[in-house]
């Protein structure tokens, strides 16, 4: 009893403060300060929820930019990576399929991020190089000039971490929404 009673009292008080109190406080804060973020950054278009700004969705049509491969098949409920070793033959085979889908050749090599699956399978970004690589296809499918599409891509690109992470990236969903807004 010397140890059981204080254990039970400690259990109750920590549960009350660190779970009930803490969660209530953070819910109140997040729902007040950044409610859109707190609910998952869901993007609405014409009253319809079309996706989360932070979670990739699959695109297969030629008039859209395509995201990185996803080991989770773009499932927002089952995120996962491939977990293949960089030396894996399975990985080489999957990469070969992707290369064939884009029609990459030695003269026109494909940027690596379009071939490598992300950690969670839900990476919302592609590299600027990876987007520009697709600009020709998208322009043709939409009847735009390649220059117009490239300008749009470049205007949406940003360096994720300033000098600490300067390789520019583009959010695929936002890019495709912007494309749809051009009306082409």
């Amino acid at each position: 009893m010397t140890y059981l009673l204080p254990s039970i009292r400690l259990w109750l008080v920590t549960l009350l403060v660190c779970v009930v109190g803490y969660v209530a406080l953070m819910l109140a804060f997040a729902q007040t300060a950044a409610p859109w973020r707190a609910d998952g950054s869901i993007i609405m278009r014409d009253g319809q929820a079309v996706g989360s700004e932070l979670v990739v969705q699959n695109f297969t049509a030629p008039e859209y930019f395509w995201p990185r491969p996803s080991a989770a098949d773009y499932d927002g409920m089952g995120a996962a990576g491939s977990n293949w070793s960089p030396t894996s033959e399975n990985l080489a085979a999957r990469a070969a399929e992707t290369v064939a889908r884009y029609g990459a050749t030695a003269d026109n090599p494909i940027p690596a991020d379009l071939v490598a699956a992300s950690g969670g399978g839900l990476d919302p970004h592609i590299s600027l190089d990876g987007a520009l690589y697709q600009a020709g296809r998208v322009a043709e499918a939409r009847g735009l000039t390649e220059a117009e599409v490239r300008d749009l891509v470049t205007s949406l690109a940003h360096a994720p971490g300033g000098v600490f992470a300067p390789e520019p990236i583009v959010n695929v969903l936002q890019l495709n929404l912007a494309l749809d807004r051009t009306g082409a």
């Binding site: 403060v17 929820a49 409920m77 996962a80 960089p86 071939v115």
Partner: protein, 556 residues
């Protein structure tokens, strides 16, 4: 190269700078300098009598047993309890056992995906609660150890009161920091809602269900308490768990902060800050060597793409998130395993072979900052061994801060250090030799062996990260790693407390010119050598069979 160095300086330097004032504050807190808070905490538990090392250990075990039982019950009954908007069904009992053991021991090994397994009540009331109290248990144990070594002014055997220490750690250290971190990452985009998954229709007209939930609160304490268990399956690679570069950097600092502060807290409580400086320096050297190795090896491009027309500019990208930058993957891998955190910012299974060795080495040493509280306790074991060996070499009675270190203390320290190796290597051998391990592999050959070795290293070190390709959601894996986590947690806490209890029972001698100083470079070098010999060489053969073999045979 330059961006990598800048990132490392920002994260490691930022955490080190913040750890100084935090360590000062924690030392004051655990020395009883906040009488009003202590009075409140004492009333909450109905008195806080002084406990010797045995009583303190029994209290620790009693409360940890209660933690395990309570969370086991919540997890097992989640389908019948409220706060389950996504209708999660009953989980198998072997998984419930593994998960309850995992979070009670501050490991957070996850043989499941949170978004498809646990209700919000199970995540918050069960797992997140354990992330607070298991971390507080570790910090409390270090406070007790420091009080014992520092010596009681009245010559008594008191190490403090466990129930009081847990409240100090949980309410005055972990909770305020968690509120700050949770607020920052919630603003950056980590969800904080009790609504179930979001239903959307994609631009191409396909239905997509997006898991969300009260993640910001969970993620904050996951990082600060060296817990590491993610709200979502792929942990901090999930964009809703780690939305941008700055939140990511902030979280990496949160991973390192308290383990670093624990060294300063220890130094102040024993009244030997120069000694703490040497220990901090030794830990930092190991950390930086591992970071250098990991970041360096990860600049090699993905070997599987070598024969394909692929343009690789920033190293191996498989299993990595673009928004987190090229350095985050290997840097986070080292931070999370050096500190016994276990969250991941890239998929460790997909790291280059030699990069993958760095996190393993972190878990084998488990003291180059280590888990909150327990990292410094593990380092105490290495220190005991180092002063003993040094004493023998110069032919004097080994002493540590005025305490005579003799055969009994040495035997206990070696027992604790070798049990760590035995759990990891024994488990790896058993599973590598049987279908239990062989049938669970996601990769073939040497990398498959690495998956098994990594899993037992993670369980034994109470880390929680994994080579996640391993199909470890089976009954043998759940039970074996569950047992390894429990032994790997409590032996290295109880044994050091016993050592200190034994030291306290002897008369303290004044330090003389003949005593080996624990404040200088000589001692630092001695400590490094001890750690390398005891911690690293034990695992060399296993490393050679796994990552080294893969590197030599398959990398150019």
């Amino acid at each position: 190269m330059l961006t990598a160095i800048l990132t490392i300086v920002l994260i490691v330097g930022g955490a080190a700078a913040l750890s100084w004032p935090l360590g000062k504050y924690m030392s004051a807190l655990f020395s009883g300098r906040f009488a009003r808070a202590d009075g409140l905490f004492t009333r909450a538990i109905g008195g806080s009598p002084a406990q010797d090392w045995k009583q303190y250990s029994i209290a620790l075990m009693a409360f940890n047993a209660l933690m395990f039982v309570f969370v086991f019950a919540i997890l097992a009954l989640q389908h019948a309890l409220p706060l389950n908007p996504d209708g999660q069904s009953a989980a198998p009992l072997d998984l419930v056992f593994n998960t309850a053991a995992s979070f009670t021991t501050n490991t957070n090994l996850q043989h499941y995906s949170g978004e498809s397994t646990w209700s919000y009540l199970a995540q918050l009331g069960g797992l997140m609660w354990l992330q607070f109290v298991s971390a507080a248990t570790g910090i409390a144990a270090l406070a007790a150890l420091a009080r014992g070594i520092g010596g009681q002014k009245d010559g008594g055997a008191s190490m403090g009161n466990f129930f009081l220490d847990v409240q100090r750690a949980a309410f005055c250290v972990l909770l305020p920091l968690a509120i700050v971190v949770a607020a920052v990452i919630a603003l950056a985009g980590v969800p904080m809602t009790l609504q179930g998954a979001a239903q959307v229709t994609t631009l191409e007209g396909v239905a997509q269900t997006i898991a969300r939930g009260p993640a910001a609160a969970f993620v904050a304490i996951k990082q600060l308490g060296t817990n590491g268990g993610g709200f979502f399956g792929p942990n901090s690679t999930h964009p809703l768990e780690n939305p941008d570069f700055w939140a990511n950097g902030f979280e990496m600092i949160a991973i390192l902060l308290i383990p670093m502060a624990c060294v300063w807290m220890f130094g102040r409580m024993v009244g030997r800050m120069k000694h703490a400086g040497v220990v901090f320096g030794v830990m930092l050297v190991f950390l930086l060597v591992k970071i250098g190795g990991a970041v360096g090896f990860e600049t090699a491009p993905t070997q599987a793409f070598a024969a394909l027309p692929v343009m690789e500019k920033v190293g191996n990208l498989e299993g990595k998130e673009l928004r987190l930058g090229a350095t985050t993957g290997p840097l986070w891998a080292v931070l999370t395993t050096s500190t016994s955190n276990g969250s991941v910012g890239a998929m460790h299974d997909s790291l280059n072979p030699m990069t993958g060795l760095m996190p393993m080495a972190g878990m084998w040493l488990n003291a180059t900052f280590g888990g909150v509280g327990v990292g410094m306790i593990n380092m105490f074991l290495y220190i005991v061994v180092a002063v003993f060996i040094a004493g023998m070499m110069v032919g004097r009675t080994p002493e540590y801060l005025g305490h005579k270190v003799e055969g009994r203390e040495m035997r206990l320290a070696v027992l604790a250090l070798f049990s760590h190796a035995l759990l990891i290597l024994g488990g790896t051998a058993l599973f590598a030799a049987t279908a239990w391990g062989q049938d669970a592999l996601n990769n073939v050959g040497a990398h498959g062996f690495s998956e098994i070795l990594y899993e037992f290293s993670s369980a034994g070190a109470n880390n929680g990260s994994g080579f996640e390709g391993l199909g470890d959601g089976t009954v043998p894996w759940n039970i074996a790693t569950g047992i390894v986590m429990l032994i790997g947690r409590y032996l290295p806490i109880i044994i050091p407390l016993a050592i200190v209890g034994s030291l306290m029972a002897k008369r303290r001698s004044a330090e003389s010119a003949g005593t080996l100083s624990v404040e200088g470079g000589t001692f630092g070098v001695m400590l490094v050598i001890t750690i390398v010999i005891f911690g690293a060489l034990t695992f060399m053969p296993a490393a050679a069979l796994g990552p080294v073999a893969e590197h030599l045979t398959l990398m150019p």
